[in-house]
């Protein structure tokens, strides 16, 4: 493992349109660590997460996974990331079960370990709705389905953008314990959330430090 950290970011700079959102952003994350990205709305937290996933192209900077540039690794890197964004990424016409089964087939490569779809459903409390079309679920249930994907994919790096949205208190606790287990098993996590949650060992990361004050 590289001495600079499993997941390291150096001098990252992102823009939206022609406006630079932040510059010179750096951090390191090792196995079992998690970062809580904080900052007011509109600062670029979502843009940061998307740049880290590879969905968005940063202007400048170095993102490295296991010491190698993410842009060189391409699909090898995406095979190690699980991203849950603002959108749930579930298809309304498919049932809950079909959504997860397809995710399993499309996102798990080769001999990767894969948890049982049934177990994942049980963990997020959606077994009873397994055969319902996903569009009939409530907002909270849809969010839980999106998060169930995390359990199936067994990826080391989790990048979560507002994962607790629409979840009730019990589900928030449930998700927190899932993330906690992931970290104990050596996983990494980057979380943006305006909601309070309890996760021992998570570090705060203020995005505002890297944004230039704009008149």
């Amino acid at each position: 493992m590289s001495p600079r950290g499993l997941f390291s970011v150096r001098a990252l700079s992102c823009a939206r349109g022609d406006k630079t959102l932040f510059a010179g952003l750096s951090f390191q994350l090792n196995a079992g660590e998690a970062l809580h990205v904080r900052g007011p709305n509109g600062l670029g937290k979502t843009t940061l997460l998307r740049a880290l996933c590879g969905l968005s192209r940063p202007i400048r900077g170095d993102i490295r996974w296991r010491g190698e540039r993410v842009s060189d690794l391409a699909e090898e890197f995406t095979a190690e990331v699980a991203y849950v964004g603002h959108l749930n990424g579930i298809q309304g016409e498919l049932t809950v079960l079909e959504n997860l089964q397809t995710a399993a087939r499309v996102f798990v490569r080769g001999k990767e370990r894969m948890a049982d779809v049934e177990t994942a459903l049980a963990r997020v409390g959606l077994v009873a709705s397994a055969d319902r079309p996903a569009r009939h679920l409530s907002q909270g249930q849809k969010r839980r389905l999106a998060l169930a994907r995390l359990l199936i994919l067994r990826r080391p790096l989790w990048i979560l953008d507002e994962p607790f949205t629409a979840l009730d208190a019990a589900s928030v606790e449930g998700l927190s314990s899932i993330i906690g287990e992931h970290m104990s098993a050596g996983g990494l996590a980057l979380i943006v959330s305006h909601q309070a949650f309890d996760l021992p060992g998570i570090r705060d990361f203020e995005l505002a430090r890297f944004c230039k004050a704009r008149t």
């Binding site: 349109g17 022609d18 842009s71 060189d72 391409a74």
Partner: protein
């Protein structure tokens, strides 16, 4: 992402160009070039018009009507060249993230479209005395029409996306797809045309180009080339001002009232 890692060494060369591709430097350099280019354009245009309208003798078959060729043909050539330039600028901007290249592409599009439109209109005007109709599905005119749609599509796509970077890159992909398709379009239109009008004489079939036709043609072509360069620099300069309005040097310019 990983697809472009092969360009690493070329990227170093491009980074050298970055220094001169910085919008501010280009703005100042272009500002000094524009008056010269504009002067050249006017001189060449006047010379070309004199040669074409006065110096060259009337044609045996077409009389004086053929003189519209001196506007039609250069515009048709420029419409093609401008599209090539657009595709190259756009590709550079997309692959290496060079903002100036994006701006040059965006500035080229309306110029190319007007060359195409002029070629279409003059082609139609030329056709009227020759064939008696305002529009003729001549192979080259049809290709020009399709090229016009390619330009309009490019500009429409740019206009409909708010984020300038996404707009530039999206239209870059469109331009690249267009450029690859152009040979295919030309071939298919040409073939379509010969299938349906095998024997008739078309605008593209000129019996022979005489020297007296060639000289004004070349002069006019150069005139339109310099016209393009002049207008390209002018338009790109205003594009720079718009897109860089947040920077200090532009704010100073605005305050100085220029």
């Amino acid at each position: 992402m990983g697809e472009f890692s092969g360009f690493a060494s070329v990227t170093r060369l491009i980074k050298f160009t970055h220094k001169y591709g910085a919008p501010k430097r280009f703005y100042l350099l272009a500002g000094r070039l524009v008056p010269w280019l504009a002067a050249l354009t006017v001189i060449l245009m006047l010379a070309g018009l004199y040669l074409g309208l006065y110096w060259a003798p009337p044609d045996y078959q077409q009389g004086d009507a053929y003189r519209i060729m001196f506007v039609h043909v250069p515009n048709a050539w420029m419409s093609m060249m401008a599209y090539m330039a657009l595709a190259i600028f756009a590709a550079i901007g997309y692959i290496w993230n060079v903002r100036l290249a994006d701006m040059l592409a965006k500035a080229t599009a309306p110029l190319g479209a007007s060359f195409t439109l002029t070629a279409l209109v003059t082609g139609s005007l030329w056709g009227k005395p020759m064939w008696g109709t305002w529009w003729v599905w001549d192979a080259r005119l049809t290709s020009e029409l399709i090229l016009f749609f390619l330009y309009v599509g490019y500009m429409a796509l740019q206009a409909s996306i708010d984020d300038p970077r996404r707009a530039a890159h999206a239209s870059a992909i469109l331009a690249i797809v267009g450029v690859v398709n152009i040979p295919i379009i030309h071939y298919s239109v040409y073939w379509w045309h010969t299938l349906h009008q095998p024997a008739s004489l078309t605008l593209t079939n000129q019996p022979k180009i005489y020297m007296t036709m060639l000289v004004p043609l070349i002069v006019m072509s150069m005139a339109f080339m310099f016209f393009y360069l002049t207008m390209l620099l002018v338009r790109t300069r205003s594009e720079i001002l718009v897109r860089e309005q947040h920077t200090d040097w532009v704010r100073k310019l605005i305050k100085a009232g220029r």
